[in-house]
Symmetry: C2
Subunit: 339 residues, 2 copies
């Protein structure tokens, strides 16, 4: 079935409101989840909401806090998320970075004790909308095996980067795993197999069974290089946020334990040069119009697909699995959302 | 043949001295090249020296300058390399970052009009040796085709990241291409074919001929994700340094034109927590001892191989192709180096 942005937002807002989340916080959390749906990434969309609600009910998420932030140094903000809603704490941290960046030109927020942020693209897009370069990284449960290894030792350790141009920004958002664990759960929830090479089972053997893969380990993307990038993010986040390392991380995929992963957000002023933004856009257009490998499929820029899907979803709604929509509605204590 | 670190340093120093490079600058440039050899990366080693010498002779490199730097904002250093030796300008910029980072906690240098830096690992290791996280990125000539494309539109856009631990730092250093163009040139120079999937020729067709590949385009590593990372580095460097974009970049692979790529160096203070460095080292050891896919090959951490090769090279010397060693010696106007 297809649902509209408005229906999805209304339901998510209701569900959060019923768990005593202030309206402004419910709006931020709902927006992050619905944006993922609009962009065609259901693995980071409403599928995550039941777990968030359960964590709110159990006190593993405090829906009211924005965390506690203090400047560790002139341009580095130390944030204790105090078990807040991930997007609420992160957006508050981005607001605090504005205090310093006009003077320092670069500012970084290191966040611990915070819940899952959802799609990182959302935060770097927020930074890029203010004309700055945005970088975001998170750590996560041990879900990824090393290149040449078999056991889950690293998080999926996503990184997002947005660069403003004269048109819309370029927006990169990738997990350093071959796929996100969210996508494997999405396959498992729908009873679909996964492609060979994506994952190993709990015994370290290659598998195409999504359910078995959720108990095992995902392959890093891009062999040794992708593994290296994931390892760098693993250490970088822990070294800046003081958060746990993957084998000790919990609380992003369960509703039993407080979340102890870390997040790093960076904003950087671009060079103030009159033709720079236009030069970047012209370059991206040249790449888009360069000769493709398949004459039917034009070359695209990171973020092009998400932007196109978002436009289509705003016009026509987005697809959602009926069992998920039903499950969400069953959590609605006082139905008021309109389809 | 095998040569010693001392012989390589002496020859490189002589060759640079003969081109009027001050001793302290010759030492920095020679060290970067010889370190690449010691670490087993000849593509970034002495093979690059004849081009540097030719560029010095033609005035495309000014061996005497350290560039001109000014603080663009509190924590962002704007550097005009003034055609200096790449490593000399970069090391001077790292020195300037020290002025501010104790106060700001993070500092960034954006460098334009500078020559090739060589292996980026060198710079982030320098930062990590001072207890900080180091990140380095460079842009380069258009050598890499987009994912789904056929034409060289991006640089190989390397990134290096070093994180200090209680043992030696983790050091990641990767080109966002499947291989560096240096390695393809190395294959071409030795008459070796390249593996399928590495590159396309000037007409956009897949090729295993290294010489034809040097006229065409290298594949990005890791498919769409590696391409995305390369594109992010492409834009990020240009947006910070005001340097050219790949299709307009020249001067890192030729001895005809001033170099107009860009470099970005970032240093970040880690969290001051007493057990942090030990915690990172213990984690890395746990990864190293995790079950490998091949029982004969232990899991390794980024930088382990380079560190191991460096130790061996310091003891036993490193291999060098005879034609290269002969070519270097033929450029020596007053032979004084000892083997």
């Amino acid at each position: 079935m297809n649902i509209t942005e408005q229906a999805a937002m209304a339901l998510a807002m209701d569900l959060l409101d019923q768990r005593k989340v202030p309206e402004s916080h419910a709006l931020i959390q709902s927006r992050v989840l619905v944006e993922a749906e609009l962009k065609g990434h259901p693995s980071h969309g409403l599928q995550r909401l039941p777990r968030i609600l359960s964590r709110l009910e159990k006190g593993l998420i405090d829906g009211k806090t924005t965390g506690e932030a203090r400047w560790r140094s002139g341009a580095v903000l130390d944030v204790d998320g105090k078990k807040g809603l991930g997007p609420v704490v992160a957006m508050a941290a981005l607001g605090r970075l504005e205090e310093r960046i006009a003077e320092t030109g670069i500012a970084l927020a290191a966040i611990r004790n915070n819940n899952h942020l959802g799609m990182l693209a959302h935060y770097v897009e927020h930074i890029a909308a203010r004309g700055r370069i945005g970088i975001a990284m998170s750590s996560s449960e041990a879900l990824v095996h090393p290149h040449g290894g078999t056991r889950a030792m690293l998080g999926t350790n996503p990184i997002a980067i947005a660069i403003p141009t004269a048109d819309r920004p370029m927006v990169l958002d990738l997990a350093t795993s071959t796929v996100s664990m969210g996508k494997i759960h999405y396959h498992a929830a729908n009873g679909w197999p996964i492609p060979a090479g994506w994952a190993r089972d709990a015994e370290g053997r290659p598998t195409t069974d999504a359910a078995r893969a959720t108990q095992g380990a995902i392959a890093p993307f891009g062999g040794a290089k992708g593994y290296g990038l994931g390892m760098a993010i693993e250490l970088l986040v822990a070294a800046l946020a003081g958060s746990a390392l993957a084998p000790d991380i919990q609380g992003t995929l369960d509703d039993r334990i407080a979340c102890n992963k870390g997040d790093v957000l960076i904003a950087i002023d671009t060079l103030a040069a009159p033709d720079l933004a236009l030069r970047l856009s012209a370059y991206l257009d040249a790449v888009r119009s360069s000769v493709p490998a398949d004459p039917e499929i034009a070359v695209s820029i990171p973020g092009d697909g998400a932007s196109r899907r978002r436009q289509a979803s705003l016009a026509d709604g987005f697809p959602i699995e009926v069992p998920l929509w039903d499950a969400l509605n069953s959590l609605n204590l006082t139905p008021s959302s309109v389809l």
